[in-house]
C-alpha cells in the first residue's frame, strides 16, 4: 500500500504530440496482452455483479436467520455458506462488491481531478505558485497513506462519506505530483513554444497541448491507485471506520467474521479473498495499461 511515485522522465523522450487514433492504437496493443485481458474480464464481471446485484444475488443480503448461522460451503441452498448472523455469503459478497468498487473508484476519480488541476497549475505556472502548492503536498507526503487515512476518518468518525473524504485527501498529493512532473516536462518542449509564438493563449495551450500529453502518465498512475484505494477502504471498514453495519462490505464482513475463525475458517477467509482478487486484477490491468501506453514508472 504505498504511494511511491516516480517523478523523473515520466514522459518518454520520444513521445510525439498525440497522433490521431491514439486510443485505437492502444486497444490494438492491449488485444494481444492476454494477462491484462483476462484480468480485465474479471473486473468487468465484478462490475456486472455489483451493478446487477439485485438480479444476480440468490438471497436478500441482509436477511438474518438464527437457524442457519455459520453453515459450511454448499449447505442446502447456500452456495457459499452463511455468516455469523445466518446471512447468505454469496449474496453478501455480491452486494459487498458495490461498496468496495465505489470506495475504490470515487476517491481516485475525485483526487485525479483535484490533484491533476493543482498539478497542472503548479507545473504550468512554475515559480512561487509551484513552490507553494508542491510544498503543501510534501507535508501530506510526510504521512504514510494508511496512517493519514485512518487519522482523518478516525477523527471525522465512521461512515461512508467520511471514509471517501479521507481517501480522497490521501490520493490528491501523489496525483498532484505526477501531474506536476509531467506538465513541467511538457511545458519546455518546442511545440509548446511554437504554439505560444503563434499566439495561443495560456488556456488553449493547457487544453490542447498540456492536457493531452499528460493524460497517459496521470491515467496510468491513477489506475494503479484504484487497487490501493480498495485495499485502504476495506482496511478502514475492517477497523470499524468507513462502512457501517449491516451494510454488506468486504472489509466489514472480514472484520465481523473474524470472531468465527475457529468455527468456519474457510468462510471467514472469503471476503478477504474477494478483496484480494479485485485488487490483484486492478493492479495487473494497470500494469498492462502502463506497458501499452509506454509510460515509465
Amino acid at each position: 500500500m504505498s504511494l511511491a511515485t516516480a517523478t523523473p522522465d515520466i514522459i518518454p523522450a520520444t513521445a510525439a504530440p498525440r497522433r490521431r487514433g491514439y486510443w485505437r492504437a492502444l486497444w490494438h496493443k492491449l488485444r494481444y496482452d492476454y494477462v491484462t485481458l483476462f484480468f480485465l474480464t474479471i473486473i468487468v464481471l465484478i462490475f456486472a455483479a455489483a451493478i446487477f446485484a439485485p438480479l444476480v444475488a440468490p438471497f436478500d443480503p441482509n436477511k438474518t436467520s438464527m437457524v442457519y448461522r455459520l453453515k459450511p460451503i454448499g449447505y442446502r441452498h447456500f452456495f457459499l455458506g452463511t455468516d455469523e448472523l445466518g446471512r447468505d455469503m454469496l449474496s453478501r459478497l455480491i452486494y459487498g462488491g458495490r461498496m468496495s468498487l465505489m470506495m475504490g473508484f470515487v476517491p481516485v476519480v475525485i483526487a485525479t481531478c483535484v490533484g491533476g488541476f493543482f498539478g497542472v497549475v503548479a507545473g504550468f505556472t512554475g515559480g512561487w505558485v509551484n513552490m507553494l502548492i508542491m510544498r503543501i503536498m510534501d507535508v501530506f507526503y510526510a504521512f504514510p497513506s494508511v496512517l493519514l487515512a485512518v487519522a482523518i476518518s478516525g477523527t471525522l468518525g465512521g461512515g461512508v462519506g467520511n471514509g471517501l473524504i479521507a481517501l480522497t485527501l490521501v490520493f490528491i498529493p501523489p496525483l498532484c505530483r505526477v501531474a506536476e512532473a509531467a506538465t513541467t516536462q511538457i511545458r519546455t518542449r518546442d511545440f509548446v513554444e511554437a504554439a505560444r509564438a503563434s499566439g495561443a493563449s495560456n488556456l488553449s495551450i493547457i487544453f490542447f497541448h498540456i492536457l493531452r500529453n499528460i493524460v497517459a502518465p496521470v491515467l496510468v498512475y491513477a489506475s494503479s491507485l484504484i487497487s490501493v484505494s480498495i485495499l485502504l477502504a476495506s482496511g478502514l471498514s475492517f477497523l470499524g471506520l468507513g462502512v457501517e453495519p449491516p451494510t454488506a462490505d468486504w472489509g466489514l464482513m472480514l472484520s465481523t467474521l473474524r470472531q468465527s475463525i475457529y468455527v468456519q475458517p474457510l468462510i471467514c477467509a472469503m471476503p478477504g479473498a474477494a478483496i484480494f482478487i479485485a485488487s490483484l486484477s486492478f493492479n495487473l490491468v494497470s500494469d498492462g495499461l502502463r506497458q501499452a501506453m509506454d509510460v515509465r514508472a
Binding site: G154, S227, I261, G272, N283
Partner: protein
C-alpha cells in the same frame, strides 16, 4: 545571512575553489525538512478541529463537570485565537508534553514511546526478513528477464502488493494457530508485553506471524524496484565490457548491484517508514500492543490527545527516516547530486 549562505548549494573556499562538502549538504537537507515537520504539526493540531463537536468535548470524557470544561478551556487557551493556540500546543509538544490520555489518564508521550518500541520489534523483524530476500529475488529476476524465473518473481511481487495484509494475517492465523496449532494467534506473550524477550522462543513466537504478515508488501515492492534498477544497469555497456573481460557471473552481479543498490535504498527507506507508520491493521489483527494498536484504541474511545500524539510521533519519525535515507543515499552514491 548565515542561513542564506547555508542554503546555497556551493560556496567558495579561501583558495577560491568551489566546494560542496557533505556537512554543508547535511545541514541544508535538515533545514529543508524543517518546514515539512512544521506542516506535520499543523495537520496534527488541526485534527481536534476536524473532530465533530466542540474541541473541548473531544478532549474530555463525557462525564466531565462544568468546572473541568472551564479549567481546560483556560489551560488549552481555547478562548485565544487559533495561531496562539497552535503555538502553545507546539511549544508544549517540543518539551515532550503531549497532554494526558482521556482513557488511561497517563501522559500520552510515555504510552506512545512504549508502543513505538513494540512496533519497532515487528518493523525491524519484517525489514530484516524482507529486504535481503527482495534484493536477492529482484536480482535473480533481472538476470533472467523475460524468462520463467523472472515471470514467477514478478507475479509473486504483484501478489505481494495486491494482498490485503489484514486478510493475510487472518489466513496465517487460520493455518498456523487454528489448524496446525503451532503458533499463538495473537498478543505479545503469555504475560503481556512487559515480559517480552527476543531471546526466548516462548515469547518470540508471538512475533512470528505479525512479522510474516508485514513483510510481504515491502518484499513485493522492493523486489520490483530491484528488478527494474538491476535490469537498467545490466543493459548498460560496461556490463558487456566486464563480461568480455572474462569476469564470472558473481563478479558481474557485484558490479551491477553496486550501481543499482543506491536507487533501491531510497525505496527501502520509504518502505521501512511505512512499516513503522502503517502498522495499524496488522497490529489490530494480532492484538500487538504497538502504535497502530494504540491509535485504533484511541479512535474507538475517541481519545483525541492520544490519537494526536501517536500521529505526530509516527509522522515525525517517518520524516526523519526519509531524511536519514536521503543523506545515506548521497553518502554512498557519488552520482547523486548534492542539490
Amino acid at each position: 545571512m548565515y542561513l542564506a549562505l547555508l542554503l546555497r548549494e556551493t560556496y567558495r573556499t579561501s583558495a577560491g575553489v568551489v566546494a560542496n562538502p557533505m556537512w554543508l549538504y547535511v545541514i541544508r537537507r535538515i533545514l529543508l525538512a524543517a518546514p515539512i515537520a512544521i506542516g506535520v504539526t499543523v495537520i496534527c493540531f488541526a485534527l481536534i478541529y476536524l473532530a465533530p463537536g466542540d474541541p473541548i468535548q473531544s478532549l474530555l470524557p463525557p462525564e466531565a463537570t462544568q468546572a473541568d470544561v472551564a479549567y481546560l478551556k483556560q489551560v488549552y487557551g481555547f478562548d485565544k485565537p487559533l495561531p496562539v493556540q497552535y503555538l502553545k500546543w507546539v511549544s508544549r509538544a517540543t518539551v515532550g508534553d503531549f497532554g494526558t490520555s482521556i482513557q488511561t489518564n497517563r501522559p500520552v508521550l510515555g504510552e506512545v514511546r512504549r508502543a513505538l518500541s513494540h512496533t519497532l520489534i515487528i518493523s525491524i523483524g519484517a525489514a530484516l526478513l524482507a529486504f535481503p530476500l527482495a534484493i536477492a529475488l529482484g536480482t535473480l529476476a533481472a538476470f533472467y528477464i523475460g524468462r520463467p524465473p523472472d515471470r514467477i518473481a514478478t507475479m509473486a511481487s504483484v501478489v505481494g502488493i495486491s494482498v490485503p495484509n489484514y486478510w493475510l494475517g487472518i489466513v496465517l492465523i487460520i493455518v498456523f494457530a487454528v489448524e496446525l496449532g503451532v503458533l499463538p494467534a495473537s498478543g505479545m506473550g503469555p504475560q503481556g508485553s512487559d515480559d517480552f524477550s527476543l531471546t526466548q522462543w516462548a515469547q518470540l513466537k508471538y512475533a512470528v506471524l505479525p512479522v510474516l504478515t508485514t513483510a510481504l508488501v515491502p518484499l513485493g515492492i522492493i523486489m520490483r524496484s530491484t528488478r527494474a534498477a538491476m535490469a537498467d544497469v545490466l543493459s548498460q555497456d560496461f556490463i558487456q565490457t566486464l563480461r568480455a573481460k572474462g569476469l564470472g557471473q558473481g563478479a558481474v552481479v557485484r558490479h551491477a548491484l553496486r550501481n543499482a543498490l543506491p536507487q533501491v535504498l531510497a525505496v527501502m527507506g520509504l518502505q521501512f517508514g511505512y512499516l513503522v507508520g502503517g502498522s495499524i491493521l496488522t497490529e489490530t489483527i494480532f492484538n500487538w500492543p504497538g502504535t497502530g494498536f494504540l491509535m485504533n484504541k484511541a479512535i474507538l474511545t475517541r481519545d483525541i490527545p492520544m490519537l494526536q500524539g501517536a500521529l505526530l510521533v509516527l509522522a515525525l519519525s517517518f520524516v526523519s527516516i526519509n531524511l536519514a535515507v536521503d543523506l545515506l543515499q548521497t553518502a554512498v552514491d557519488p552520482r547523486v547530486k548534492r542539490g
